[in-house]
Symmetry: none
Subunit: 262 residues, 2 copies
Protein backbone atom coordinates (compact mmCIF):
# COMPACT_ATOMS: atom_id res chain seq x y z
CA UNK A 1 0.00 0.00 0.00
CA UNK A 2 2.25 2.70 1.14
CA UNK A 3 0.52 5.99 1.51
CA UNK A 4 1.19 9.30 -0.02
CA UNK A 5 1.75 11.01 3.34
CA UNK A 6 4.95 9.27 4.20
CA UNK A 7 6.42 11.94 6.45
CA UNK A 8 3.40 14.04 7.20
CA UNK A 9 2.17 14.19 10.76
CA UNK A 10 -0.79 16.22 11.78
CA UNK A 11 -3.10 16.49 14.72
CA UNK A 12 -4.74 13.26 15.89
CA UNK A 13 -7.75 12.44 13.76
CA UNK A 14 -10.13 11.99 16.63
CA UNK A 15 -10.37 15.24 18.49
CA UNK A 16 -12.44 15.16 21.63
CA UNK A 17 -12.19 11.38 22.00
CA UNK A 18 -10.14 10.00 24.86
CA UNK A 19 -7.72 7.51 23.36
CA UNK A 20 -6.21 4.44 25.02
CA UNK A 21 -2.52 4.18 25.89
CA UNK A 22 -0.30 1.53 24.29
CA UNK A 23 2.15 -0.01 26.77
CA UNK A 24 5.07 -2.01 25.37
CA UNK A 25 6.56 -4.18 28.09
CA UNK A 26 10.31 -4.79 27.78
CA UNK A 27 10.49 -4.19 24.03
CA UNK A 28 13.83 -5.27 22.58
CA UNK A 29 14.40 -3.75 19.14
CA UNK A 30 14.13 -0.01 18.64
CA UNK A 31 12.90 -0.73 15.14
CA UNK A 32 9.88 -2.56 16.53
CA UNK A 33 9.10 0.33 18.89
CA UNK A 34 9.22 2.70 15.94
CA UNK A 35 6.97 0.52 13.81
CA UNK A 36 4.55 0.19 16.71
CA UNK A 37 4.48 4.01 17.03
CA UNK A 38 3.71 4.26 13.33
CA UNK A 39 0.90 1.71 13.67
CA UNK A 40 -0.49 3.66 16.64
CA UNK A 41 -0.60 6.95 14.76
CA UNK A 42 -2.17 5.18 11.76
CA UNK A 43 -4.98 4.47 14.21
CA UNK A 44 -5.04 7.95 15.75
CA UNK A 45 -3.30 6.96 19.00
CA UNK A 46 -0.44 8.91 20.58
CA UNK A 47 0.02 7.79 24.21
CA UNK A 48 2.98 5.39 24.04
CA UNK A 49 4.46 3.97 27.26
CA UNK A 50 7.57 1.81 27.46
CA UNK A 51 8.38 -0.50 30.35
CA UNK A 52 12.13 -1.11 30.67
CA UNK A 53 13.07 -0.98 26.97
CA UNK A 54 16.12 -3.22 26.55
CA UNK A 55 18.27 -0.74 24.61
CA UNK A 56 17.37 2.34 26.64
CA UNK A 57 15.51 5.44 25.57
CA UNK A 58 15.57 7.56 23.42
CA UNK A 59 16.47 5.16 20.63
CA UNK A 60 17.56 6.30 17.15
CA UNK A 61 16.31 3.11 15.49
CA UNK A 62 12.85 3.73 16.89
CA UNK A 63 12.70 7.22 15.44
CA UNK A 64 13.88 6.01 12.04
CA UNK A 65 11.38 3.15 11.89
CA UNK A 66 8.46 5.34 12.94
CA UNK A 67 8.24 6.69 9.37
CA UNK A 68 7.31 10.12 10.62
CA UNK A 69 5.33 9.32 13.74
CA UNK A 70 7.66 11.68 15.57
CA UNK A 71 5.02 13.05 17.91
CA UNK A 72 4.43 9.55 19.30
CA UNK A 73 8.12 8.76 19.76
CA UNK A 74 8.97 12.10 21.36
CA UNK A 75 6.09 11.96 23.82
CA UNK A 76 6.77 8.35 24.86
CA UNK A 77 7.02 7.82 28.61
CA UNK A 78 9.38 5.27 30.16
CA UNK A 79 8.59 3.26 33.31
CA UNK A 80 10.54 0.73 35.31
CA UNK A 81 7.65 -1.61 35.96
CA UNK A 82 4.33 -2.50 34.39
CA UNK A 83 2.62 -1.64 37.66
CA UNK A 84 3.87 1.94 37.44
CA UNK A 85 2.98 2.20 33.76
CA UNK A 86 -0.68 1.34 34.38
CA UNK A 87 -1.08 3.13 37.74
CA UNK A 88 -3.32 5.92 36.40
CA UNK A 89 -5.43 3.65 34.17
CA UNK A 90 -8.90 2.38 35.05
CA UNK A 91 -9.17 -0.31 32.42
CA UNK A 92 -6.30 -2.42 31.11
CA UNK A 93 -6.18 -5.12 28.45
CA UNK A 94 -3.31 -7.55 27.93
CA UNK A 95 -2.55 -8.84 24.44
CA UNK A 96 -1.36 -12.43 24.35
CA UNK A 97 -0.86 -15.05 21.67
CA UNK A 98 -1.54 -18.07 23.81
CA UNK A 99 -3.94 -19.21 26.46
CA UNK A 100 -2.82 -18.64 30.03
CA UNK A 101 -3.59 -20.98 32.85
CA UNK A 102 -5.55 -18.23 34.52
CA UNK A 103 -9.19 -17.53 35.03
CA UNK A 104 -9.30 -14.39 32.95
CA UNK A 105 -11.83 -13.16 30.45
CA UNK A 106 -10.68 -13.39 26.83
CA UNK A 107 -11.93 -10.98 24.18
CA UNK A 108 -11.28 -10.44 20.49
CA UNK A 109 -9.85 -7.10 19.30
CA UNK A 110 -13.36 -6.24 18.12
CA UNK A 111 -14.85 -6.84 21.55
CA UNK A 112 -11.91 -5.09 23.20
CA UNK A 113 -12.58 -2.00 21.12
CA UNK A 114 -16.20 -1.88 22.23
CA UNK A 115 -15.20 -2.23 25.89
CA UNK A 116 -12.55 0.47 25.68
CA UNK A 117 -14.99 2.87 24.06
CA UNK A 118 -17.57 2.10 26.74
CA UNK A 119 -15.10 2.77 29.56
CA UNK A 120 -13.60 5.88 27.99
CA UNK A 121 -17.02 7.28 27.18
CA UNK A 122 -17.63 7.84 30.87
CA UNK A 123 -15.94 10.87 32.32
CA UNK A 124 -12.32 10.88 33.33
CA UNK A 125 -11.49 7.24 32.77
CA UNK A 126 -8.22 6.12 31.16
CA UNK A 127 -7.55 2.84 29.40
CA UNK A 128 -4.47 1.05 28.12
CA UNK A 129 -3.40 -2.01 26.15
CA UNK A 130 -0.36 -4.07 27.15
CA UNK A 131 1.91 -5.78 24.62
CA UNK A 132 4.74 -8.11 25.59
CA UNK A 133 8.28 -8.24 24.30
CA UNK A 134 9.14 -9.90 21.04
CA UNK A 135 9.23 -13.71 20.98
CA UNK A 136 8.25 -14.16 24.65
CA UNK A 137 5.17 -12.02 25.13
CA UNK A 138 3.87 -10.86 28.48
CA UNK A 139 4.74 -12.51 31.77
CA UNK A 140 1.89 -13.81 33.88
CA UNK A 141 2.56 -11.06 36.41
CA UNK A 142 1.94 -8.48 33.68
CA UNK A 143 -1.22 -10.22 32.54
CA UNK A 144 -2.65 -10.14 36.05
CA UNK A 145 -2.58 -6.33 35.88
CA UNK A 146 -5.22 -6.53 33.18
CA UNK A 147 -8.99 -6.64 33.29
CA UNK A 148 -9.14 -8.95 30.30
CA UNK A 149 -6.94 -10.67 27.73
CA UNK A 150 -7.09 -9.74 24.06
CA UNK A 151 -6.24 -12.51 21.66
CA UNK A 152 -5.88 -11.73 17.98
CA UNK A 153 -7.32 -14.72 16.14
CA UNK A 154 -4.60 -16.03 13.82
CA UNK A 155 -3.54 -19.24 12.10
CA UNK A 156 -2.89 -21.61 15.03
CA UNK A 157 -0.09 -23.22 13.03
CA UNK A 158 1.76 -19.90 12.70
CA UNK A 159 0.63 -17.57 15.42
CA UNK A 160 3.70 -15.42 16.01
CA UNK A 161 2.73 -11.85 15.16
CA UNK A 162 5.27 -9.11 14.65
CA UNK A 163 4.99 -6.66 17.58
CA UNK A 164 3.83 -3.73 15.43
CA UNK A 165 1.38 -6.05 13.70
CA UNK A 166 -0.17 -6.98 17.03
CA UNK A 167 -0.37 -3.31 17.99
CA UNK A 168 -2.07 -2.53 14.70
CA UNK A 169 -4.47 -5.47 14.92
CA UNK A 170 -5.80 -4.32 18.29
CA UNK A 171 -5.62 -0.54 17.80
CA UNK A 172 -7.18 -0.63 14.36
CA UNK A 173 -10.33 -2.19 15.75
CA UNK A 174 -10.45 0.66 18.24
CA UNK A 175 -10.06 3.12 15.36
CA UNK A 176 -12.79 1.46 13.30
CA UNK A 177 -15.15 1.63 16.26
CA UNK A 178 -14.18 5.26 16.82
CA UNK A 179 -14.99 6.36 13.29
CA UNK A 180 -18.15 4.32 13.34
CA UNK A 181 -19.28 6.28 16.36
CA UNK A 182 -20.70 3.10 17.77
CA UNK A 183 -22.96 3.30 20.76
CA UNK A 184 -21.04 2.39 23.86
CA UNK A 185 -22.08 -0.74 25.66
CA UNK A 186 -20.64 -2.50 28.65
CA UNK A 187 -20.56 -2.12 32.36
CA UNK A 188 -23.10 0.28 33.85
CA UNK A 189 -21.49 2.29 36.60
CA UNK A 190 -23.46 4.45 39.07
CA UNK A 191 -22.87 8.15 38.51
CA UNK A 192 -21.55 8.85 41.98
CA UNK A 193 -18.50 6.63 41.50
CA UNK A 194 -16.02 5.57 38.83
CA UNK A 195 -13.87 2.56 37.95
CA UNK A 196 -11.01 2.18 40.41
CA UNK A 197 -7.54 3.07 39.16
CA UNK A 198 -4.95 0.30 39.19
CA UNK A 199 -3.21 2.19 41.95
CA UNK A 200 -6.30 1.94 44.14
CA UNK A 201 -6.72 -1.73 43.33
CA UNK A 202 -3.08 -2.42 44.13
CA UNK A 203 -3.40 -0.53 47.40
CA UNK A 204 -6.29 -2.73 48.46
CA UNK A 205 -4.48 -5.89 47.41
CA UNK A 206 -1.42 -4.85 49.38
CA UNK A 207 -3.60 -4.16 52.43
CA UNK A 208 -5.11 -7.64 52.09
CA UNK A 209 -1.72 -9.25 51.44
CA UNK A 210 -0.15 -7.63 54.49
CA UNK A 211 -2.98 -8.74 56.74
CA UNK A 212 -2.80 -12.27 55.35
CA UNK A 213 0.95 -12.25 55.88
CA UNK A 214 0.38 -11.35 59.54
CA UNK A 215 -2.23 -14.07 59.78
CA UNK A 216 0.20 -16.69 58.50
CA UNK A 217 -2.00 -17.42 55.52
CA UNK A 218 0.84 -17.61 53.00
CA UNK A 219 2.99 -19.64 55.33
CA UNK A 220 0.30 -22.28 55.58
CA UNK A 221 -0.23 -22.27 51.88
CA UNK A 222 3.49 -22.17 51.19
CA UNK A 223 3.15 -20.39 47.92
CA UNK A 224 2.62 -16.68 48.33
CA UNK A 225 3.26 -15.51 44.75
CA UNK A 226 0.75 -17.91 43.24
CA UNK A 227 -1.84 -17.14 45.90
CA UNK A 228 -1.38 -13.41 45.48
CA UNK A 229 -1.83 -13.76 41.75
CA UNK A 230 -5.00 -15.76 42.27
CA UNK A 231 -6.42 -13.11 44.57
CA UNK A 232 -5.48 -10.38 42.14
CA UNK A 233 -7.17 -12.23 39.29
CA UNK A 234 -10.44 -12.47 41.20
CA UNK A 235 -10.62 -8.83 42.17
CA UNK A 236 -9.32 -7.67 38.82
CA UNK A 237 -12.12 -9.51 37.12
CA UNK A 238 -14.77 -7.83 39.24
CA UNK A 239 -14.11 -4.43 37.60
CA UNK A 240 -14.33 -2.75 40.99
CA UNK A 241 -15.31 0.86 41.43
CA UNK A 242 -13.44 3.27 43.65
CA UNK A 243 -16.30 3.07 46.15
CA UNK A 244 -16.12 -0.71 46.22
CA UNK A 245 -12.39 -0.62 46.88
CA UNK A 246 -13.12 1.49 49.94
CA UNK A 247 -15.80 -0.96 51.04
CA UNK A 248 -13.38 -3.88 50.70
CA UNK A 249 -10.72 -2.06 52.71
CA UNK A 250 -13.37 -1.48 55.35
CA UNK A 251 -14.15 -5.19 55.30
CA UNK A 252 -10.50 -6.15 55.72
CA UNK A 253 -9.98 -3.66 58.56
CA UNK A 254 -13.16 -4.75 60.23
CA UNK A 255 -12.34 -8.45 60.10
CA UNK A 256 -8.88 -7.95 61.53
CA UNK A 257 -9.24 -4.99 63.88
CA UNK A 258 -12.23 -6.26 65.82
CA UNK A 259 -10.72 -9.64 66.40
CA UNK A 260 -7.57 -8.06 67.70
CA UNK A 261 -9.66 -6.53 70.47
CA UNK A 262 -10.97 -9.88 71.66
CA UNK B 1 2.89 -10.10 21.41
CA UNK B 2 5.09 -12.67 20.05
CA UNK B 3 3.88 -16.18 19.87
CA UNK B 4 5.29 -19.36 21.15
CA UNK B 5 5.63 -20.79 17.67
CA UNK B 6 8.27 -18.43 16.45
CA UNK B 7 9.86 -20.74 13.94
CA UNK B 8 7.18 -23.35 13.59
CA UNK B 9 5.40 -23.65 10.31
CA UNK B 10 2.71 -26.18 9.76
CA UNK B 11 0.01 -26.84 7.24
CA UNK B 12 -2.34 -23.98 6.49
CA UNK B 13 -5.04 -23.72 9.13
CA UNK B 14 -7.90 -23.70 6.67
CA UNK B 15 -7.83 -26.95 4.77
CA UNK B 16 -10.37 -27.29 2.04
CA UNK B 17 -10.86 -23.54 1.66
CA UNK B 18 -9.57 -21.89 -1.48
CA UNK B 19 -7.39 -19.00 -0.35
CA UNK B 20 -6.74 -15.74 -2.19
CA UNK B 21 -3.33 -14.86 -3.63
CA UNK B 22 -1.35 -11.85 -2.41
CA UNK B 23 0.36 -9.95 -5.20
CA UNK B 24 3.09 -7.47 -4.30
CA UNK B 25 3.72 -5.12 -7.21
CA UNK B 26 7.33 -3.89 -7.53
CA UNK B 27 8.21 -4.35 -3.87
CA UNK B 28 11.50 -2.69 -2.96
CA UNK B 29 12.87 -4.03 0.32
CA UNK B 30 13.33 -7.76 0.82
CA UNK B 31 12.57 -7.20 4.47
CA UNK B 32 9.10 -5.93 3.61
CA UNK B 33 8.45 -8.95 1.40
CA UNK B 34 9.45 -11.22 4.26
CA UNK B 35 7.24 -9.42 6.75
CA UNK B 36 4.36 -9.57 4.28
CA UNK B 37 4.88 -13.34 3.93
CA UNK B 38 4.78 -13.66 7.71
CA UNK B 39 1.55 -11.64 7.85
CA UNK B 40 0.05 -13.84 5.14
CA UNK B 41 0.81 -17.07 6.96
CA UNK B 42 -0.54 -15.54 10.19
CA UNK B 43 -3.80 -15.37 8.25
CA UNK B 44 -3.51 -18.84 6.70
CA UNK B 45 -2.49 -17.63 3.23
CA UNK B 46 0.38 -19.10 1.22
CA UNK B 47 0.05 -17.97 -2.43
CA UNK B 48 2.55 -15.08 -2.73
CA UNK B 49 3.22 -13.49 -6.11
CA UNK B 50 5.83 -10.85 -6.81
CA UNK B 51 5.76 -8.48 -9.76
CA UNK B 52 9.25 -7.27 -10.71
CA UNK B 53 10.80 -7.15 -7.21
CA UNK B 54 13.46 -4.41 -7.26
CA UNK B 55 16.28 -6.45 -5.73
CA UNK B 56 15.60 -9.69 -7.61
CA UNK B 57 14.50 -13.04 -6.30
CA UNK B 58 15.26 -15.07 -4.20
CA UNK B 59 16.18 -12.50 -1.56
CA UNK B 60 17.97 -13.39 1.69
CA UNK B 61 16.48 -10.42 3.56
CA UNK B 62 13.00 -11.64 2.72
CA UNK B 63 13.69 -15.08 4.14
CA UNK B 64 15.18 -13.63 7.32
CA UNK B 65 12.28 -11.24 7.88
CA UNK B 66 9.66 -13.91 7.31
CA UNK B 67 10.25 -15.24 10.85
CA UNK B 68 9.73 -18.80 9.74
CA UNK B 69 7.16 -18.39 6.98
CA UNK B 70 9.53 -20.36 4.78
CA UNK B 71 6.83 -22.18 2.87
CA UNK B 72 5.43 -18.87 1.63
CA UNK B 73 8.81 -17.46 0.61
CA UNK B 74 9.94 -20.65 -1.15
CA UNK B 75 6.71 -21.05 -3.09
CA UNK B 76 6.60 -17.40 -4.19
CA UNK B 77 6.13 -16.90 -7.94
CA UNK B 78 7.75 -14.02 -9.82
CA UNK B 79 6.12 -12.23 -12.77
CA UNK B 80 7.28 -9.41 -15.02
CA UNK B 81 3.96 -7.61 -15.15
CA UNK B 82 0.83 -7.26 -13.04
CA UNK B 83 -1.23 -8.48 -15.98
CA UNK B 84 0.64 -11.79 -16.01
CA UNK B 85 0.45 -12.12 -12.25
CA UNK B 86 -3.35 -11.93 -12.21
CA UNK B 87 -3.94 -13.86 -15.44
CA UNK B 88 -5.43 -16.94 -13.78
CA UNK B 89 -7.54 -15.03 -11.26
CA UNK B 90 -11.28 -14.44 -11.55
CA UNK B 91 -11.58 -11.70 -8.96
CA UNK B 92 -8.95 -9.11 -8.10
CA UNK B 93 -8.89 -6.37 -5.51
CA UNK B 94 -6.41 -3.46 -5.43
CA UNK B 95 -5.33 -2.02 -2.09
CA UNK B 96 -4.76 1.72 -2.11
CA UNK B 97 -4.28 4.43 0.49
CA UNK B 98 -5.79 7.26 -1.47
CA UNK B 99 -8.75 7.90 -3.69
CA UNK B 100 -8.10 7.46 -7.38
CA UNK B 101 -9.66 9.57 -10.01
CA UNK B 102 -11.32 6.49 -11.40
CA UNK B 103 -14.83 5.18 -11.42
CA UNK B 104 -14.08 2.13 -9.38
CA UNK B 105 -15.98 0.59 -6.54
CA UNK B 106 -14.35 1.10 -3.14
CA UNK B 107 -14.75 -1.45 -0.34
CA UNK B 108 -13.45 -1.82 3.21
CA UNK B 109 -11.31 -4.85 4.13
CA UNK B 110 -14.39 -6.27 5.86
CA UNK B 111 -16.49 -5.99 2.71
CA UNK B 112 -13.59 -7.26 0.60
CA UNK B 113 -13.39 -10.39 2.74
CA UNK B 114 -17.07 -11.13 2.21
CA UNK B 115 -16.75 -10.67 -1.55
CA UNK B 116 -13.68 -12.90 -1.79
CA UNK B 117 -15.40 -15.64 0.18
CA UNK B 118 -18.46 -15.35 -2.04
CA UNK B 119 -16.40 -15.63 -5.21
CA UNK B 120 -14.17 -18.45 -3.97
CA UNK B 121 -17.16 -20.37 -2.72
CA UNK B 122 -18.24 -20.91 -6.30
CA UNK B 123 -16.43 -23.69 -8.08
CA UNK B 124 -12.97 -23.22 -9.48
CA UNK B 125 -12.67 -19.48 -9.00
CA UNK B 126 -9.42 -17.86 -7.90
CA UNK B 127 -9.02 -14.46 -6.25
CA UNK B 128 -6.11 -12.16 -5.48
CA UNK B 129 -5.28 -8.92 -3.71
CA UNK B 130 -2.83 -6.38 -5.15
CA UNK B 131 -0.49 -4.27 -3.01
CA UNK B 132 1.69 -1.51 -4.41
CA UNK B 133 5.30 -0.73 -3.74
CA UNK B 134 6.42 1.13 -0.65
CA UNK B 135 5.89 4.91 -0.62
CA UNK B 136 4.23 5.12 -4.03
CA UNK B 137 1.53 2.50 -4.01
CA UNK B 138 -0.08 1.00 -7.09
CA UNK B 139 -0.02 2.71 -10.45
CA UNK B 140 -3.36 3.47 -12.07
CA UNK B 141 -2.62 0.81 -14.70
CA UNK B 142 -2.38 -1.77 -11.93
CA UNK B 143 -5.57 -0.57 -10.31
CA UNK B 144 -7.48 -0.98 -13.54
CA UNK B 145 -6.74 -4.71 -13.36
CA UNK B 146 -8.92 -4.90 -10.30
CA UNK B 147 -12.64 -5.47 -9.84
CA UNK B 148 -12.69 -3.14 -6.86
CA UNK B 149 -10.46 -1.02 -4.65
CA UNK B 150 -9.84 -1.89 -1.00
CA UNK B 151 -9.09 1.02 1.28
CA UNK B 152 -8.00 0.38 4.86
CA UNK B 153 -9.60 3.12 6.97
CA UNK B 154 -6.80 4.91 8.85
CA UNK B 155 -6.03 8.28 10.42
CA UNK B 156 -6.28 10.68 7.46
CA UNK B 157 -3.51 12.77 9.00
CA UNK B 158 -1.08 9.82 8.99
CA UNK B 159 -2.23 7.28 6.46
CA UNK B 160 1.03 5.68 5.36
CA UNK B 161 0.82 2.01 6.26
CA UNK B 162 3.82 -0.26 6.30
CA UNK B 163 3.48 -2.76 3.43
CA UNK B 164 3.19 -5.81 5.69
CA UNK B 165 0.71 -3.91 7.84
CA UNK B 166 -1.52 -3.30 4.83
CA UNK B 167 -1.23 -6.97 3.85
CA UNK B 168 -2.23 -7.98 7.36
CA UNK B 169 -5.10 -5.49 7.57
CA UNK B 170 -6.74 -6.90 4.45
CA UNK B 171 -5.84 -10.59 4.84
CA UNK B 172 -6.82 -10.70 8.50
CA UNK B 173 -10.38 -9.72 7.64
CA UNK B 174 -10.40 -12.60 5.20
CA UNK B 175 -9.14 -14.92 7.96
CA UNK B 176 -11.75 -13.70 10.44
CA UNK B 177 -14.49 -14.33 7.92
CA UNK B 178 -13.00 -17.77 7.25
CA UNK B 179 -13.05 -18.88 10.87
CA UNK B 180 -16.40 -17.12 11.21
CA UNK B 181 -16.31 -16.31 14.85
CA UNK B 182 -15.53 -19.87 15.79
CA UNK B 183 -12.69 -18.64 17.96
CA UNK B 184 -13.45 -19.23 21.59
CA UNK B 185 -14.09 -16.12 23.53
CA UNK B 186 -15.23 -15.65 27.06
CA UNK B 187 -13.85 -16.77 30.35
CA UNK B 188 -10.91 -19.14 30.20
CA UNK B 189 -11.12 -21.48 33.15
CA UNK B 190 -8.26 -23.79 34.14
CA UNK B 191 -9.14 -27.42 33.59
CA UNK B 192 -8.89 -28.45 37.21
CA UNK B 193 -11.78 -26.29 38.34
CA UNK B 194 -15.24 -25.09 37.25
CA UNK B 195 -17.51 -22.06 37.72
CA UNK B 196 -18.84 -21.91 41.26
CA UNK B 197 -22.48 -22.77 41.82
CA UNK B 198 -24.72 -20.07 43.29
CA UNK B 199 -24.94 -22.24 46.38
CA UNK B 200 -21.18 -22.08 46.82
CA UNK B 201 -21.18 -18.33 46.22
CA UNK B 202 -23.97 -17.85 48.75
CA UNK B 203 -22.15 -20.01 51.29
CA UNK B 204 -19.07 -17.84 51.02
CA UNK B 205 -21.12 -14.64 51.27
CA UNK B 206 -22.89 -15.94 54.37
CA UNK B 207 -19.54 -16.85 55.91
CA UNK B 208 -18.31 -13.32 55.20
CA UNK B 209 -21.56 -11.74 56.41
CA UNK B 210 -21.49 -13.66 59.70
CA UNK B 211 -17.92 -12.67 60.40
CA UNK B 212 -18.66 -9.04 59.59
CA UNK B 213 -21.70 -9.19 61.86
CA UNK B 214 -19.44 -10.40 64.69
CA UNK B 215 -16.98 -7.66 63.89
CA UNK B 216 -19.64 -4.98 64.15
CA UNK B 217 -19.15 -3.94 60.55
CA UNK B 218 -22.84 -3.62 59.73
CA UNK B 219 -23.58 -1.84 62.97
CA UNK B 220 -21.04 0.82 62.16
CA UNK B 221 -22.35 1.17 58.66
CA UNK B 222 -25.92 1.05 59.88
CA UNK B 223 -27.29 -0.48 56.74
CA UNK B 224 -26.69 -4.19 56.51
CA UNK B 225 -29.00 -5.02 53.56
CA UNK B 226 -27.46 -2.42 51.27
CA UNK B 227 -23.95 -3.39 52.24
CA UNK B 228 -24.63 -7.07 51.76
CA UNK B 229 -26.00 -6.37 48.33
CA UNK B 230 -22.93 -4.34 47.44
CA UNK B 231 -20.65 -7.17 48.49
CA UNK B 232 -22.71 -9.69 46.56
CA UNK B 233 -22.53 -7.51 43.45
CA UNK B 234 -18.77 -7.39 43.54
CA UNK B 235 -18.23 -11.11 43.96
CA UNK B 236 -21.03 -11.98 41.56
CA UNK B 237 -19.35 -9.92 38.88
CA UNK B 238 -16.05 -11.73 39.31
CA UNK B 239 -17.49 -15.01 37.94
CA UNK B 240 -15.67 -16.96 40.62
CA UNK B 241 -14.64 -20.57 40.24
CA UNK B 242 -15.27 -23.22 42.86
CA UNK B 243 -11.56 -23.18 43.68
CA UNK B 244 -11.61 -19.42 44.16
CA UNK B 245 -14.57 -19.66 46.53
CA UNK B 246 -12.50 -22.02 48.67
CA UNK B 247 -9.57 -19.62 48.56
CA UNK B 248 -11.79 -16.74 49.68
CA UNK B 249 -13.20 -18.79 52.55
CA UNK B 250 -9.62 -19.53 53.54
CA UNK B 251 -8.87 -15.83 53.45
CA UNK B 252 -11.85 -14.99 55.67
CA UNK B 253 -11.01 -17.72 58.17
CA UNK B 254 -7.37 -16.73 58.20
CA UNK B 255 -8.07 -13.03 58.82
CA UNK B 256 -10.45 -13.75 61.68
CA UNK B 257 -9.09 -16.91 63.31
CA UNK B 258 -5.53 -15.73 63.71
CA UNK B 259 -6.54 -12.47 65.23
CA UNK B 260 -8.77 -14.27 67.71
CA UNK B 261 -5.67 -15.98 69.03
CA UNK B 262 -3.92 -12.73 69.81
Amino acid sequence: MAGTDHTKTTEPALKGLTTPAVILVEPQLGENIGMAARAMLNCGLTDLRLVAPRDGWPNKDALAASAGAVQVIEAAQVFETTTEAVADLNFVLATTARHRDMTTRIVTPHQAAAEIHAVLGEGENRAGILFGREAKGLKNDDVTQADAIVMVPVNPGFSSLNLAQAVFAVCHEWYLAAIDEQEPSGLAIPKETRPASKDELNGMLKHLGDELEDAGFFHVEGKRPVMERNLRNMFQRANLTEQEIRTLRGVISSLTRTHEKK
